[in-house]
């Protein structure tokens, strides 16, 4: 197969050159992230609406969540965003080995986040705070606190699903990086996966204060 503009095998045939491919790929990723904003946006809207309707119950509900674990997980995610951007930077400056180790660090931190999250979920289960038939928590406004817990599980659950998918994608990239597939000339998949990973981090940056912090003072 002949290519007139770029003979590198990482440039797909429909693109003029590696630069155009990079811009098209990142733009496509951003368009996907815009749909993700609206995907999470529906849940954020539901949260804002019910919090406006039942402010006291939502304030009481936030007291069920563990701020220490929430803050710790925020730090873990921010750290993972830093290692993610380190992977991209390593590719840009051609430090091939460090791409792999930075991706591995990101995967590990993402896993730590999910482990801490699962401990929180288990704790809620034991306390009877999981909405539905398992909800046994008793209080005058328990029904409305259940609404808060529904928002909590729906939003953090969807967020955790995104983390699991992200870890899957990064694992694939780490294998490719181990094989030396990426470098200064080609790192588009790492950049695109990074955009997705940082977006998931941003979602948590909003979830943490909304669910854990508001109503504590």
């Amino acid at each position: 197969m002949s290519r007139s503009h770029d003979t590198a095998d990482h440039v797909a045939h429909q693109f003029e050159d590696a630069g155009q491919q990079f811009v098209a790929s990142t733009f496509g990723t951003w368009l996907f992230l815009v749909t993700e904003i609206m995907f999470f946006g529906g849940l954020f809207t539901a949260y804002v609406m019910y919090r406006a309707r039942y402010p006291e119950a939502f304030a009481h509900g936030s007291h069920h969540l563990d701020i220490t674990l929430g803050a710790l997980n925020t730090g873990v995610l921010i750290f993972s965003s830093f290692t993610m951007v380190t992977a991209v930077h390593s590719a840009q400056v051609g430090k091939i080995r460090r791409i792999f180790s930075a991706l591995l660090a990101t995967i590990s931190l993402g896993t730590v986040f999910l482990v801490i999250k699962s401990f929180e979920y288990h704790h809620k289960l034991v306390e009877g705070l999981v909405p539905g038939p398992l909800f046994t928590y008793a209080a005058p406004d328990a029904r409305h606190q259940e609404l808060f817990m529904s928002a909590y599980f729906a939003m953090t659950g969807l967020h955790a699903l995104h983390m699991i998918i992200g870890i899957g994608v990064l694992t694939w990239l780490a294998v490719q990086a181990w094989r030396g597939r990426y470098g200064a000339a080609y790192y588009t998949p790492i950049e695109c996966a990074g955009l997705y990973w940082h977006f998931v981090d941003i979602v948590w940056i909003f979830l943490f204060p909304l669910l854990y912090l508001l109503g504590r003072s």
Binding site: I37, F44, M49, A71, I78, F208, L213
Partner: protein, 92 residues
């Protein structure tokens, strides 16, 4: 790389700040403070980690459009919820 480290440290600092501020009683201002810090953190991630400062205009426009529609979604919904009780009509 130094810029990334600085952003990383700032994000951790802002996380500590928002936790501290959550325990100070400010009334409705607690929401404002928490959201201001969250938006600042999100902007740092967008501009530095997601490379918006080096991105083409088309990419930046797509981000603005995404946030714009989110604002439409939340503000139109809330304008309905907040004003529905004002009308003395059945089925409100």
């Amino acid at each position: 790389m130094r810029a990334y480290l600085f952003v990383f440290a700032t994000l951790l600092l802002l996380t500590g700040l928002t936790v501290t501020a959550a325990f100070i009683h400010l009334g409705a201002m607690n929401d404002v403070v928490a959201m201001t810090i969250a938006v600042t953190k999100a902007l740092l991630v967008l501009v530095y980690f997601m490379h918006l400062r080096h991105s083409p205009g088309l990419t930046r426009l797509s981000v603005v459009v995404g946030v714009f529609w989110l604002v439409v979604l939340i503000s139109l919904t809330m304008s309905d919820v907040a004003t529905r009780g004002l009308l003395g009509v059945p089925g409100k």
